[in-house]
Every structure is written in C-alpha cells, then in structure tokens.
Subunit: 379 residues, 4 copies
C-alpha cells in the first residue's frame, strides 16, 4: 500500500510548474515508492492567480498566506518556489511548524542566511532538500558514477559554463513577476546565484570542495525600468560572472556564466579532464554524455557520444526503450523519486540544506572576489 | 468546465504506457482543452498483469475480455495497443459498439484489412486516429510548417532511415510478450510495418503520395526459437528493408530500415532537399532540426542546428522555457491534444484510418516489390 | 640516391592540378621513396592555356598533341586528366608507346571500353593505376584496416551517398571547359560515373564485390544550353542516381548520388554496419572516422569520433603532429607515394585498371537497371 | 617575371618543416605573386641533421653557424625556428646584417626582450613578421571579416582555450630536441608562451587590446628527468594557465590552456558573443566556422556550421572546389602569400614584431598575475 506525502506548494511560476509535474508523475514511473505526493494546497498572494494554477494542475485547495499554509495539519512538506529573498523567512517558519522542506535553489540570499537555515533545520531533524536538479539528469548521474568508480584517475581540470542570451535587449525591465531574477533585492545576485550556483553544485558533487576563487563580474546594461515603479533604476545584479578556482583535490576550475551570450538559450556545459579519461556534457543535448578513454586502443581513441537512453544508464530503466530520449523535466521526477526513497528509509538525500550551503559559500566568495578584485578563500 | 473523455485501453505494453502517460499529462499542459481523458478501464487477457498495470497508472477498472470492454457504456473511446493481427477484429467490433478508436500503428496486417476498417469507420462517422506519433515531434512539425510555407521550393529528394540493432543476437527468441514484433503471424511484417511505416507516414505527410517502389528485404537470421513453442522455427519477418521510390511531385525517395545496424538504437532520420532549402532531422536528437537555406548570404551559408525549444516553435509554448528540451513521450501528448481539440470542434484529426491506409498501401507495395524483385505501383 | 620518374600530364583542369600538386609534394613528405616525380611535360590542345599551366606549376615543357607526348623518350608515365571519352584512345596509344599510365577515374565510358583497356595494359605488363583517391584519405584507410582485422565481424549493411548541389540552376550550361561533366557525349554518364563511381570503388575495396542492383535515375532539368553550340539541347546525363544492391558477402547495399541536394557541396558519406562494430565517414570532415564498438562496456558505448591525425593512423606519421588535420589534396599525395613504392618493388598498386573495371561494371549495371526498371546482375 | 626571395632557415624542427612547406607551395597556389621563395640555406648546429633536412626539402646549402648564414649576401630573409631563448640574439644580429626576419612565435622570452627587438627592427626599416599562423586559417579570417563588417554589434564575451594532453605521463623528460618546450630555460614559459600566445594574438586581432588580467598557473608534475643531464630536475614551466581579463572595448575575456586535458590533442577553440551574432571556431575542425545570427527569422534561428571551402571564403579561391577541405599547413602558405604581397608593395604585414609585442605583454602580465595572485594591468 502506498502512503500519501502531502505537498503544500508556495509559488506558481516556472519552478512551481516543474516541481508539480514531478510530483504528479513520480508514481507512474517509480511505482516501487511507498510515498506518493498529494497536491494538497498551492499558495500565493494573488488568489486569482493561485486558483488558476491550482485548477490547471489539480491542487486540492489554495492559500493566499504562506503562514496559513504552515498552520495546516494536512501538509507534510512545503515546496518553496518563491524569490530568493523569502527563502529564509519561510524556511524558518516551516521548521517551526515541523514541515519537511523542499526549497528551490539557491538556498538563500547569502551564506549568513544559509547558515541560520541549516542550523535550524538540522536541529529540528526535519527532512530537507534543495532543488539542484541537474545532478539527476541521467547523463550527469552517469558522470558521477564513472568518477566514483575511478575511471578518470587523478583530476586535472574542471570547467563549466552556463550561457544564456535573454537579457541582451535594453528594453527588458527588471523586477516583478517573471523578472525578479533581474532585481538584486529579490534575487540577491544575478547569474551567480541563478546559473553559476547550478554549476557549482554539480562541481562540488563531482569533484569535491573549492578552496579559493578569483572572480570577475559585469553589468552590461546599467539601468533598466523597474516593473514595480515604472522608473529607470540602476541595475545591481551581475549580468555575467567568471571565476578561476582551485579544488581540494588539486585540480583547477574555470567557471563562466552570462545572460549575454547570443545564440545560447540555456547552455550549461561541463567538462572534467582526468589522467585516464575525460567527460563532457551540456544541457542543450542533455541526453548525451561525451566520454574519452585514453585506455582505448591507440588508433581507435576518440570522444564517444553516449546516448544515455539504455536500461543500464541511471534512471533510464524507469522510462521508455533504448534510443528514446527524455528531457529537462525528468530531472525533477528523479529528484522527487530519490527524495521519497530516502524519506522512506529515514535517510537524508543530497543536496540537503547543508550541501547547498557549500554552494552558497562559493557564490559568496565569488561575489566578494569580484568586488574586491582579489583571490578569496571559500567559507 | 471540462468534460470527461473516457478511455478504455486494450493492451499494456510499451505503447500502452506511452499513450496512458499522454492521457494523464495532456490536461496539465494543454489546459485550454474542453475534454479531459479519464482512465476508465484497462483490458488484457491476464487479469494479474492488467491489474498491475491499472494500479500503476491509475485505471479505474480492468477487463480481461475486450468484448466486455466494448459493451460498457462508460467508455467513449478505445485505444488499441495490441499486436497488429488483432487491430482489424477489435476495430470492427468497436465500430459496431459505437466507440471512438485510437489505434496503434500500423493500421492493419495489410491493405485489404485496412480498407475494410476504413470503410467501416467512415460509414459509422466515428472519430478515429492512428498513432503515427512522430508527426508531433516539434522539430518535425516545424519541418512541415516550413514546407507548407514554400521555403524549400521544388522538392528533389526525400530520404529516410530507421536503424536499430536490437535483434543481432541469434539467441533472441521470436514471439510472445515483448517479442511479437519478430513473429510474422502477429506482426504481419518485420521492419516494414514496424519502422518503415513511421518513415512512410511522415514522408507522405511532408512530401505527398508515393507512386511506385523498388524494394529489397532480407532476413539475416533464418531461424529463432519461438517463445510459444520453445522450438526453433523459421523466421518469416523482414530483418531489413530498403526501397527506392517516386513521389507524385516528381521527387525521388530512398528509404531504409533494419534492426542490424550496430550502434543505432532508434535512429529515425529524414532529409528533404529542395530547390532553395533543405531540412534534416533525426530521432536521437529529436529536439533539433537541421536547416540549410541557400538564400542566406553566400559566405555565411551553413546548416543551422535549430534547438526547437522556443515559444514560437510548434507546441513549445506549452512546456518550459527556451533551451530546455522535451523528449520522446511528448509527441504522444501533442497527438492527444490535437485529437481532443479536433474532437471538440467535430473535426477529423490526421492521421485518421484513411491517412494510415495510404501508408499501408506503400508497405504492401514494398513487400510485394521485394518478393517479386520488380518495380511495383502503389495501391 | 633518388631516381627521376618523368611525368607527362595530359589535361590541366581541376584533376590536373590535384595530381601535379601530389607529384610535387610527395618527395618532401615521403623521403624514403626512390623514385621522384619530375614534371617533364604538360599537354593540351590550347598552347596558350597549357603554357600558363606549365608556367604556374613548373612543367619543363608543353605539347599540344598528346600523340607527340607519347612519342617522347623522356616521359616514363602519362597522367590522363581529360574527359572520359578520351580515356580509351589515349590509353591504348600510351600502351603502344610503352608508357606507364595513371588514368583519372572513371576508367572508361563503359565496360566494353574498360575491358579493351585492361586487356591491352595487362598484355603490355606496364604499370597502371586509376585515380580513385578516396581510398587514401587516412580515415578511409583506417576503416579498411579495421575491417581487415575483423573488428566488425559479419557485415550486414553498407550505405554510401555522394551529394552535391551545384547544378540546381537552370541557367548552368552543359559542355565545354569545366562543364563537360554535364555532357553525356564527353562524360558517358552523369553522377553515376562522376560520383557514384567513387562510392562503388570504395565499397568494393572495403566490402567486396557487388552481385546485382536495382537502380533509379532522374534528369531534373531536361534541357540546357550547350556551351559548344549556344543552343538549348536535351540533357542526357543522370542528375541523380540511387540503387539497392547485394554484396557477395551477403550484406545489403544502398547508394545514392545527386547534384540536387541543396546544402551539400561534396558530401561523400559511407557507413558499414557489422555484427560487432560499425564505421562511418564523410568527406566534409574527412579527417574524422566515426566508430562504434559493441564490445565496449555497456553503459559507456557510444560512437567515437576519431580525429585521424595521430602518428599511428595511416599515413599520418608523414605529416605534422597529433591534432593537426590534413585535407583533400593529401589523398593524392598518398596515392602517388603508394604507387611509387610499388613501382620500386615491381608490384601492382591498387586500384589498377583491373580494379577500376569492376567499378565500371557496377556503373554499367546501374545504368542498365535504371533504364530497364529491373534488377540487373553485375557483369 | 618572378623575382627570387632567398630564404635562410635557422632550425629544422616541426616549425622549420611547416614554414619550408609554405615556401615551396606558395607559388603554385598564388601565382600572381612577384616574389618567389628560394630555399637558399638551412642552418643548425648539427651538420648531419641539417644536411638531412636540406636534402629532404631541397635547400641549396647548409650552415652550422647562424652567424655565417647572416654574413651571406645571397640571403634576403632569415626564418628563425629555434627555441625562444635564441630569438632575440639572432634577431638583433640579423637586423645588423640587414636581413628581413620571419620569426617563429612567441616573439621573445619576455616583454623586455621584445621591446629591444621591436626598437631595433623598426629603426632598421626591415620587413618583419612573426608566425602567428592561425589568423590565416580561412575560417578565422572569415570571422575577422564578419567582425570588421559589424555583423556582431557590441561585443560582450570572448573566450578561448588551447587544450592538449601530451605531457600527462610522468615519464616524459624535459629539455633537448623536441622537448625544449618543457624546459623554462629554453622556452621562457610553458603553455602561456606556447599555446596561450596563439589565443591572445588572435584575440587582440579580432577583439582589440586587453587591459588587465587575473591568472592562475599550475605545474602538475613537479619533477622530470632533464634530457641534457639525465637527472630529475624541478619543472619550472606552467603546465596549465587560465586567466580572466577585460578588453578595451568593454567585453570580458576568459582564456585557458593546458597540456593535461585528456582527449584533446590540439584543441584551440574560440568564441565571440556579440549583441547581434556570435562566432565559434576550433582547430580540430578548422575548416568550419560556427555562426549564429539573431536577425534570422525567429523560429529558424540556429548555429550555422559553415564549411569554409567556397570560392568566396578567404583564400579559398586559390585551392580546390567547394566542399573540399584544406588543412593546418595551409595557414602558413597564406601567411607567406600575404607577406610577399605586402613586401612587393612595401607594406608591413601583420603580425609584425610590434603586433607580437602586444601579445608578449599580455603573456607577461598573465605570468606576473599568476605569480602574485592579483589582477595585473597589461604593459
């Protein structure tokens, strides 16, 4: 028999949709799970908007005040899908209310907030997770497996980019629904927290801790109309951010993110170079992993393009048949599946608040390094 | 207010799952639809198997006799996901019972069966559709749009392949669950009906009718153990099939399909060469369309790799944000969405039984041509 | 000490240049060769044109009558780079004159001519070679090596295309300098002899003899102005040609060639599917070989893109350093190098006239099959 | 009538061969040139080695002392293809001797040396050039043309990598013939001067000056046997180097180079993101340019893969026919052709010593920044 896992969703934007879809699908494709998400309530300030969202996706009820949601007994877990500046406040209240927390990334506005959240959630003993979903793209999970098996040997290099091009127009406003990511007051930072945080989370997972960074940020368009005021206001987010770093294992890192790379919509790429083998992946063809193995017969060495769609690839025995690709949204389904499997066994599932805090520390060091124009130690 | 569209699913294999997933998701992503699929009943001979299927996917009830299913008043439409040799019998009975039919491809075992089915369904006036799902891969739909706009000009060439490698081992048996596609008695033909039928459906849709063919088939492994008997039996399906053809519009066609192309799991590729522009697509990277336009500035001409994930690409405004790809299963969601939108308006939605019959005629001509080693006119 | 190998070049077009370049470079990169080409004389009807050619490339003298060239004692070998309709006459005269012959492909206008040439050259005992240069692209040579080592196992499929788009305009005339390939009187056939002949030569080399074919040809533009007459005349070459075939080893073949594939300039592609492994190559990235090996560890199987630029790749120890690619022209250098190495040892070097005759027979069968619309056995 | 341009080559290694090949071929493919290189003399300390080199490539004479070479009246230009620590001394002597200088990159061991060389050569008025050959890869030249035409608009990002993997083995010694690049005493630096210098030269050419840098270097293998002494010695070159930078035009730069990127032999990649369009290129497929133009029709936007082999592409009207690629060595032929065309007109041809000095300054700033772990202004 299955048991309900009652979800209270706070927010209804892009991430609200992605998570909801995952809750609805996980039981169909991971039927072995004991717990099954139930869409108990959706919450947002606008009753009209959240009702429309609840109607479309099948939430049983709505709330317009997240504090009310936290008071409800029929909610096991809250999913925090609101702008970053609300993560801490809602999380702390949710912990007080004894709710499991599934929090959208980045964890917080900065390390200080993140540490407070971590301390509280760990003291409470409540299950918690942060939505760094790219770990659960099967090709990325396969990369992790290969690294853990030692296939790469000593690691020399790690590089990652996250390139977009959607903010090049000067006419794009900042702030408000859908555009809060351009408003530092709501987002904390620009591409660093939005995009590089993903790259950093994966990097730490695959390659271990980062010790120090030298970073550079830029705001190409200095003023934009703010949606809330209708006025041109100074833009205080970073439009682009690059950094050099060292990892604990002695390898070198190179990261870049921007929303001004014409031609790239969501090109998250990563590459790892080891003594024996190298791995590369990108989000625009997320169902493929590139792999080079120097131990292959000399004249036949070449980068392999692995179509990650076979039953022996991570997660893929849950889907279709070899050769048939899955997409972006499936990474969330996998994350829910793993979370629920862990929850069933009483085990924490990574990335927890604690794991996400490590990424937060790197982000803070990056922003600090850029501001000060100097190498900065992490955390 | 939405209205229920009550589904009776016959079969529970790979296609049963793919269609069911589509029924369950279509309302979330196409909320404008009036009709919403309801999983009323699943039907298969084995009560145990179909109950497990129903439990996993949420069908309200089961049946073990499809005739019983057809007698139920609470079923609006039946989805026929059983081996090809049962399509006709079930379809004709379903028509008698006044059920809408959504039939897995190919339509029938041969043209004669298909004509009987077409005549009956058209006489009945019942809505009907065949699951040639690849038309609704957004990149393929975009190709159709470009052709319809005249972007390619006069067409010279059409070529398509469907390459797999899963039957190379001699140890693979034929017949039985999951392997009926290797048994001519159940499947009618081998790669011709299974794989080439997809290529032909898309080709007719994109490039118009086929007039005559010259084909070649081969059965590389002559005997396999039959799952039903445990005995080695002659294999009578085609392991591979290739054909040359002419289209009504004067262009030349070249098609190939095999299950013996090592390294290709489900590589359906197509390319169309026109006077002004060319298009290419393949199923292993189904979210991309390759496009070459000779009208581009001379020194800057090149094949464009279009990442079909923008809001102005077919169907993509219903999904995520630019750069985030969808996968195989979404083609079925689109097909259900289009079908229900048509049903709402009382309009037939292609491919109907009639459309699928055209593909059947080409398949028959192909098999006849291969047998007779001569050019054969289509239907 | 090196010895001179005195060349008399007949013709000065595209192939005249490509061969001459090979003669001039081979000694620099293959210094171990005993014989070194010496550009003794270039010959063509127009004294002015051939003098300009000789001046540019460094031929010591010119002739305007190829019969005169054949009479000269200081010529060891003639290189026949004139339209196909002159190959036989010049070859037979050259054989009479005791000259070694390096003949541009295709060997002849048809099989009958080819057989006469073969008989004569073999009776004479003179060294002879036909310029099917693509065998000596290092990636293609590597493919041959892998096949000979048995890496692919039993072969199931061979497919090859040669796609161009340079004759789509109706305004292009036929006949005359540079355009004789559009004039059946000079060329014998269209894409079949020009492009498919390359595909067939490689196929026979890699996969053995072809037994029977079913072909289709088309002439999309029926009339073009003839450069010689200034009049619109019927076009009698094949603009496109496709064919199905069987190989002696039981594998199936599929070939296509056209000059109407918009977007492809010289896209010669080939793919071979074997029991254990597959190989693919194309001329637009000729320095790469694609290789899939099913014996690779399951979850890590993928098509390898081999950058054929290492010292252990065929011919590549003669060039630069790993990672630095060579181009089209180098295939001719390799062919000269192999020819001279064989000549030194008194050994025939493939493709000889005899080898090229096999390709001619397939071409003839293809054209016959297309004309008669029936399967045709190869010569 | 053509005129001789008498070359004295100093060195006979990889670059000596590449330059010599260019001298020998340029007249064949650029017949319009007035000056034609003549291989007058090759010079190196070992008489035996340089004689073998001269015999293979056709130098008329040899010298074993470069001072003797400089004294010869029959030498117009010297080509300096020796380790970096000799560039200054030989250059200054050559200038004294009134010789034109074609110097292998990098210009010098450091900026101070480079400034001395610049001052001397400019005072002398002698023609001079440095072999940053990648500018003359046709695809890179096409990129330059597009940028100069303003196709990209305001530039936001420039990134370049040069990745190799040939020094991963600890058993590789340093120093001596073929391995002097691993010896700081001979090379000055490791990947910075060897590989990044190429990236920087192209970057300045395409995107203008660099103002400041933050760099990181690493030496992964700390000790290697020195070929000269047979002893294990400390390795003082940089095995890897990455840096962030700003360009004068306000764009951000990101550069990386290493010899520890398993799977990459000579992967020089560059990408430029502009307001309207982006460009990408890499050395492993050097005959292609990737181009994205946001002004293309919305649903049809995509990265174009331009096969740079058409007559309207830079330099390509000098080679074969569309679709047939050239290779690495041709970049040197183009550089000689451009140099000789400039020489004929009395015009300096870029990159001159002065141009190369700019790259030297950036390299010095990079090495200084890495040493000091701080942002460093460029010279």
């Amino acid at each position: 028999m299955t048991k309900p896992f009652n979800i209270g969703m706070i927010g209804y934007g892009f991430m609200g949709r992605a998570h909801t879809n995952a809750y609805k699908r996980v039981g169909d494709f991971f039927p072995e799970l004991e717990y099954r998400p139930v869409l108990k309530a959706a919450c947002a300030r606008s009753a009209e908007s959240v009702q429309a969202f609840a109607d479309q996706w099948g939430y049983e009820s709505i709330e317009t005040d997240w504090r009310k949601l936290l008071e409800r007994d029929d909610i096991d877990a809250v999913d925090i899908c609101v702008p970053n500046n609300l993560h801490k406040e809602i999380s702390l209240a949710a912990i007080d209310a004894g709710k499991i927390i599934l929090c959208e990334k980045p964890l917080a506005m900065d390390t200080a907030e993140g540490e407070e959240m971590c301390a509280a959630v760990e003291k409470s003993g409540l299950a918690n997770m942060v939505w760094y979903n790219y770990r659960r793209v099967p090709a990325v999970s396969l990369a992790k497996k290969l690294i853990d098996e030692g296939k790469l040997g000593r690691i020399f290099h790690y590089r990652a980019n996250f390139l977009q091009d959607w903010t090049i127009s000067e006419d794009l406003p900042q702030g408000g629904a859908g555009l809060w990511r351009l408003d530092a007051a709501a987002a904390g930072s620009g591409v660093t927290g939005d995009l590089l945080a993903h790259c950093i989370d994966t990097a730490i997972w695959l390659n271990g801790g980062i010790t120090d960074v030298s970073a550079m940020t830029e705001t190409f368009i200095k003023e934009r109309v703010h949606s809330d005021t209708g006025e041109k206001q100074s833009v205080s987010i970073d439009d682009a951010c690059s950094f050099l770093c060292h990892f604990d294992n002695g390898s070198l890192g190179l990261f870049e993110s921007t929303r001004y790379a014409r031609g790239h919509k969501a090109l998250y790429t990563l590459e790892i170079n080891g003594e024996h083998a190298s791995i590369a992946w990108d989000l625009h063809d997320l169902h493929r992993l590139s792999y080079f193995d120097h131990r292959d017969e000399g004249a036949l060495r070449g980068w392999r393009s692995i179509h990650v769609s076979d039953g022996d690839h991570p997660y893929m025995d849950h889907w279709w048949v070899p050769g048939l690709q899955i997409g972006y949204e499936h990474s969330f389904v996998h994350q829910v599946a793993d979370f629920l499997a862990g929850y069933e066994k009483g085990e924490a599932v990574s990335p927890t608040f604690r794991d996400a805090l490590e990424t937060q520390k790197v982000c803070d060091a990056v922003l600090d390094s850029a501001r000060e124009r100097k190498w900065t130690d992490v955390g």
